[in-house]
Symmetry: C2
Subunit: 216 residues, 2 copies
């Protein structure tokens, strides 16, 4: 067991990669533990580094920023295949396809184990400061996705786009609104209802809210 076995092609990534992942996880653990105790503001990068036994410079080499270690350093981005699918294939409604694109993006970044992911999630939602940052990240994605919507519209042949010039942005916001509760419920119970169902529920809820009759 001192050298790579031939029958373990899956997690055999070379010594370098393995070490990298190890320190990455060490830093993450240290950061999360310290945040549980002192809160986001109460933790300094220096503290994290001391606990993880790495230099501050190394910390910033791994996660580009302090928030990076809490939010996850890889913001979910669509792969070229996904982009092509969304822009050119477009099997369903713009909105529904966008939601599906979201779903795929989320599913992709499962490199971290779901347990740590949930822990991270809990910390984010219990720390207003982090929640805000997370929202800011979403905003980045929003910009990118809006551009994608433009490409899709161009591909299908624009029509009547002058009437509502910022329709793409609204579509993205709507997709967010649909994804939000679905993602939330899924993170709380990953083995519960399948994602498609959660999304369908969410869509139904939104329809109900919009068409809600005036009460009282």
């Amino acid at each position: 067991m001192y050298f790579p076995a031939a029958g373990v092609p899956e997690s055999e990534l070379g010594l370098r990669e393995r070490k990298r992942l190890a320190t990455e996880r060490t830093i993450e653990r240290a950061a999360l533990d310290l945040a549980q105790e002192h809160g986001y503001e109460g933790v300094t990068v220096e503290m994290i580094c001391e606990s993880a036994m790495v230099s501050p410079r190394t910390f910033f080499n791994y996660f580009g920023s302090k928030e990076g270690v809490f939010l996850g350093h890889t913001p979910p981005r669509p792969t070229p295949e996904m982009i092509d699918w969304f822009v050119n294939e477009r099997p369903s409604t713009t909105l529904l396809d966008l939601v599906e694109l979201f779903r795929r993006m989320m599913s992709t970044r499962n490199r971290t184990d779901p347990a740590a992911m949930r822990e991270r999630r809990a910390l984010i939602h219990s720390t207003p400061d982090l929640a805000v940052r997370e929202f800011a990240r979403m905003a980045e994605a929003e910009t990118e996705l809006t551009a994608l919507l433009q490409r899709r519209r161009d591909a299908v042949g624009a029509e009547g786009s002058d009437v509502f010039p910022d329709e793409p942005r609204v579509v993205v916001l709507l997709a967010f609104a649909i994804m939000h509760p679905a993602m939330h419920r899924w993170l709380e119970d990953p083995d519960g209802a399948p994602q498609e169902e959660l999304i369908a529920d969410s869509l139904q809820m939104i329809r109900r809210i919009i068409d809600e009759p005036t009460h009282s």
Copy 2:
């Protein structure tokens, strides 16, 4: 003209207040001008202070942060009257009332003249970094408004809230989606269609997007 005239009771706020507003505007002007030239990242607080002839410490006394001077130092918040109206009166749908609450919040903070407001707006939207920050601010409002929705629901008597525990959050997101294009169009043409009409248009657009038939 060397001393205060007696016939100007409106803007007579005392020497102190006037000076305060003066330096505030001086700093704002300096910041906006410098940002036009060098971009948000390219401007340092020190540069702004040098241009406005105040100490950095003073800058932070006025606007608590660098982004503060660009985004406006007073994030729009609902007044107690508005809160009461929303929680207890609730003349219409939850969603529509929330949109109306938004509209009122936006209308309130017209202490800055609309011209500078639009200039600021243009800068924000042309600077991705600032756009993100603005979104983060919205997120703060989101949290606050979600709490408000809970209060409203409690006031009306909760029912079936277990099915969709994060319905309030979705309502807020939807209200955002409705407000967004309306606000946008209003800022681009303040003397055009009245806000109510813009909102109605926006709502209609959203209905269309959600019910859009599968095409192609």
